[in-house]
Assembly symmetry: C2
Homo-oligomer: 235 residues x 2
DNA sequence: TTGCTTTAGCACAGAAATGCGCAAACAAAC
DNA sequence: GTTTGTTTGCGCATTTCTGTGCTAAAGCAA
């Protein structure tokens, strides 16, 4: 079979050239079929007492919204691709994307062989640009909100993984996602946890779990109705 | 730039041909640089009261052992690639590989741009072929056993992820990895948990946690010295 | 039949966790 | 200044969990 050497002059990516290591068959990695690798991200935030996910317009036919995503570029870390896609698709600055799962169903994308590395990131609502599209991930009577079910590809599953992971992280740590601006009150922290976990929490039980992991600033909240609350920061 | 259409006649993989969808730039997915995607697997088993990981000979220079791995083939699920690599590299039948993490450091492999999707699988020691290489993952006084530290690439980290995930699964469920052949005694189950978790467990506390999740078969163990133990199966 | 070993089960004490009611400490209203 | 409403902090009782020691049960071996 006649082979053409194909070269790229972009991002210093290595090409099929005499300098690449060859294997026992005299071939380099570029001689084998390879998938396209994409990242898709469930960007979660807390607003109006609930957990919300960000959607962007989906250019594909028929469906209007999707999770932000992009193909990974040579030399780019997956997390950096996530951050780039959040900037480019939603004008949002992501923070610390965490991997969730690789979706690898061979026919998942009609354009060809595509793997998607699903991620989750969390951003405080106040850091989101005005006008971004957020939908609730809260379940009502066990039924998914229609808009989550209608998302393309495996995006509904990605949201499930994301919610599960963030909820797991908020089981015992005060604010692992940094959604509150320190200093904050215990009530603010508890309300955040109730929004994330989707359930109400007993005030005293919550306080005993969190206080050992917080630093009391010695100050109290002001301008609030009722007894002023002590202010805390994370360790 | 002159392009040659490159065709493959292997495994029905799609090629850069007129039939592939093109994007807004008139290009298909194959026109963009793509990584090689590999899977690496920490295959864990329990033997001699401890958690062990399987190693295979590493063909690379300098180091002798590594976790089994392979490049993913077109149309192949990641889990199937894991199972294939365990068969081909170690003669082992894997069971239910679980994804751990994607290792994506651009320079992690001198052959080129390679992503590795790390997996964990567990197999009962009795199902492993004779002569496979197992090393302990147990830490002694907080120090990693030398052989784990010396593994190539990010394999030591993969083992860490794998151990953490399996230990997490065995925190509250009887035998999520199916390492015991039913029926089994509570002592056998407890010893499995002690091997996985790397700590001793209080007999009654353990029994209270497990019994509600087990079905008593009504039979007892035979051929044992002392009072025969009740036999259980998982729900 | 007796002795030994192992397992099962439970009572109990102590530790840990939970939830509630009340006093304290504020702001707002009068 | 007093009263009302709200929120916080904490003491207390209750509940749950854990680990220990003990004894009975149930086998095998002698």
């Amino acid at each position: 079979m006649l082979h053409c050497l194909r070269k790229y002059a972009q991002n210093g990516v290595m090409t099929s050239s005499p300098s690449l290591p060859v294997d026992g068959f005299g071939k380099t990695l570029l001689d084998y079929p390879r998938p396209s690798v994409a990242v898709d991200t469930a960007l979660l935030t807390v607003h109006d007492g609930g957990l919300k996910v960000l959607l962007v317009p989906h250019p594909g036919a028929g469906l209007g919204w999707a999770l932000p995503g992009t193909f990974v570029r040579p030399g780019e870390r997956l997390a950096d691709a996530v951050l780039r896609s959040l900037r480019e698709k939603a004008g949002v600055s992501g923070r610390d994307p965490q991997q969730l799962h690789v979706f690898d169903e061979p026919g998942r994308d009609e354009r060809g062989w595509v793997l998607s590395v699903a991620h989750v990131d969390v951003v405080p609502f106040g850091e989101l640009p005005a006008g971004v599209k957020l939908i609730s991930v809260t379940e009502f009577a066990g039924a998914r909100v229609a808009q989550v079910r209608e998302l393309p590809y495996d995006h509904a599953q990605i949201i499930d993984y994301a919610v599960a992971q963030v909820r797991s992280q908020y089981l015992s740590a005060p604010d692992p996602g940094g959604l509150l601006t320190p200093p904050f009150t215990l009530k603010e922290l508890r309300e955040l946890h109730e929004a994330v976990r989707g359930e109400s929490l007993q005030r005293d039980t919550f306080r005993r779990a969190m206080e050992p992991q917080l630093v009391a600033t010695g100050e109290i909240s002001d301008g609030t109705k009722g007894r002023p609350a002590a202010l805390f920061m994370p360790y």
